[in-house]
């Protein structure tokens, strides 16, 4: 390979190498097919980096009352999803936006709502009409405004 090809390859690969741009508006995307399918059945499959592992453990323990919904799953699926979420949790990966979110969560806490994190609230001080948009429905509907949310991108849109 000539130097030129190497340089070209390096330049071309830049936009696709997430950690190279792993700034404040990025978290590692969900890659596990089961997590994508089951968590994504009713809402966006939120990236595990937004909550610490103990939050995900609590959530997987309480699926029968999942924010008022019975989201029960067979035990083998619960175990597989739990493993992925806890291994990629915010206090484990500590990458991108996760660092900021984790700063607001104290040691013993296991918060369940990403939308109540002070960092989320600080970045979402929006007029009421934005939240009332029929496409939005609820604050946890990230892709309604963040077109790259599924890929972990939460740049200001």
């Amino acid at each position: 390979m000539t130097l030129r090809t190497l340089l070209l390859a390096a330049v071309l690969s830049l936009p696709f190498t997430a950690p190279a741009r792993a700034g404040d508006d990025w978290v590692p995307p969900v890659t596990d097919p089961l997590v994508k399918k089951e968590c994504g059945a009713c809402h966006m499959a939120f990236q595990p980096a937004f909550l610490p592992a103990r939050s995900w453990n609590k959530m997987m323990d309480t699926l029968a009352d999942h924010f008022g919904e019975d989201a029960s799953l067979p035990a083998d699926k619960v175990a597989a999803i739990r493993a992925y979420l806890t291994q990629n949790a915010g206090d484990v990966v500590n990458q991108g936006r996760a660092r900021k979110y984790m700063r607001h969560i104290s040691g013993g806490d296991a918060p369940q709502r990403i939308t109540e994190n002070p960092d989320f609230l600080r970045k979402h001080q929006l007029p009421e009409r934005v939240w009332k948009d029929p496409k939005v429905v609820t604050k946890s509907n990230c892709p309604a405004c963040h077109v790259g949310a599924d890929r972990g991108w939460y740049e200001d849109d």
Binding site: G40, D70, V137, A144
Partner: protein
């Protein structure tokens, strides 16, 4: 040789319920028929009534199936609680519907609880699928 291929492709693409048959869906229907005491056939009309009825016992945000699936099951819907888009339920526009028994049971369990405030009977499930097969 080209013409029969084109005809075949055209038939496959046509949104005709007659071509939306699927043995997995037939098996699901047959299972519900078996579980339906005094079974005397499923009814698309009863299924439509189930789909459009405003129930009282469930979550107030989802008083009917139409709360998420819209009045027209051939249209995409939207989860009334999360805002997530939902693919059409009508088999004519979404041939994957009602082809995975586990998924079908899981969805009925969740949705019946939310909309009707109780489990659906085997007859209601069979009626619902029968209605969607004609849509």
């Amino acid at each position: 040789m080209i013409r029969p291929v084109i005809l075949g492709v055209a038939l496959l693409l046509a949104p005709n319920p007659a071509f939306a048959g699927d043995s997995r869906r037939d098996a699901i229907i047959a299972d519900y028929a078996k579980a339906d005491t005094g079974h005397a056939g499923f009814s698309a009309q009863r299924g439509e009534t189930l789909f459009r009825t405003q129930w009282k016992g469930g979550d107030e945000r989802t008083p009917s199936c139409t709360a998420c699936h819209t009045d027209n099951p051939r249209q995409p819907g939207r989860n009334a609680k999360t805002g997530r888009p939902i693919d059409p339920v009508a088999v004519s526009v979404n041939a994957k519907r009602f082809t995975d028994a586990g998924e079908v049971e899981k969805q009925f369990t969740r949705d019946c609880k939310n909309v009707l405030g109780r489990e659906c009977t085997a007859r209601e499930k069979g009626d619902y699928i029968t209605f969607m097969m004609g849509q």
